[in-house]
Symmetry: C2
Subunit: 118 residues, 2 copies
DNA sequence: CAGCATCCATAGGGATACTG
DNA sequence: CAGTATCCCTATGGATGCTG
């Protein structure tokens, strides 16, 4: 338990942040341009999107290809390694489909004073 | 894509934070006391542990049972719902075992100016 | 178009000290 | 033992405006 590759390190490791998982899914069907990624992600700001993309690139999950054209074009594409995340994300989605209602239901009942209860 | 139960909501939803996954695993084999959880988690501060436990409880992942004894005893235990996370976490661990080396290797090579490169 | 620079708000996590 | 209370720091994410 609790080596460097324990779940608590891994979860935030690459898909635990707010946008990475969505970007990965976004790239599932092939390369996408910066602005093509931006739109479905509910209009993330460019800064945040760039940050996330750079981090994914650094970790070997995606490649970034710049085309010397005007107007500029940059394409992002999943690597082999990045594609392995698709399975992981799929499992998470399945978990959510199945159990999220129960979670939300549990949140409704008061009793644990975490939320704003006045 | 991108309903309320999309992966980007789910990942941070319950196991994306720093300690939840470890706590879940900690409770895998039965109820545990506050201090029993605290130790393997590399001595998290009580505040942080309490926060995380309360959040897990609120989401219906664990139960909290107080025994009216001296000295006080409180036990935390996984619910049915909480147990479903064990599978999810196991999948994540397996992903890590398999691919973490590649991630770390990718991080070694410079080229993407995210890290501190001077 | 694809970003970078700048400034800003907040939440997560933590250190330390104290209590029922 | 099992927390609370208080203070603090940093990382994440965001808004706005500018540039090659």
């Amino acid at each position: 338990m609790f080596h460097p590759d324990c779940p608590s390190s891994v979860m935030p490791l690459r898909i635990g942040d707010k946008w990475s998982a969505m970007i990965i899914v976004c790239l599932e069907d092939g390369p996408r341009r910066f602005s093509e990624i931006r739109v479905p992600l509910r209009r993330t700001t460019p800064k945040v999107l760039t940050q996330t993309l750079r981090a994914l690139e650094r970790d070997g999950m995606i490649t970034r290809t710049v085309y010397a054209e005007v107007p500029p074009r940059v394409e992002y594409e999943l690597t082999e390694l990045g594609r392995t995340l698709l399975d992981l994300i799929a499992v998470c989605r399945r978990w959510a489909d199945e159990h999220l209602p129960a979670v939300l239901a549990a949140r409704e009942l008061p009793g644990v004073g975490v939320g704003p209860e006045g």
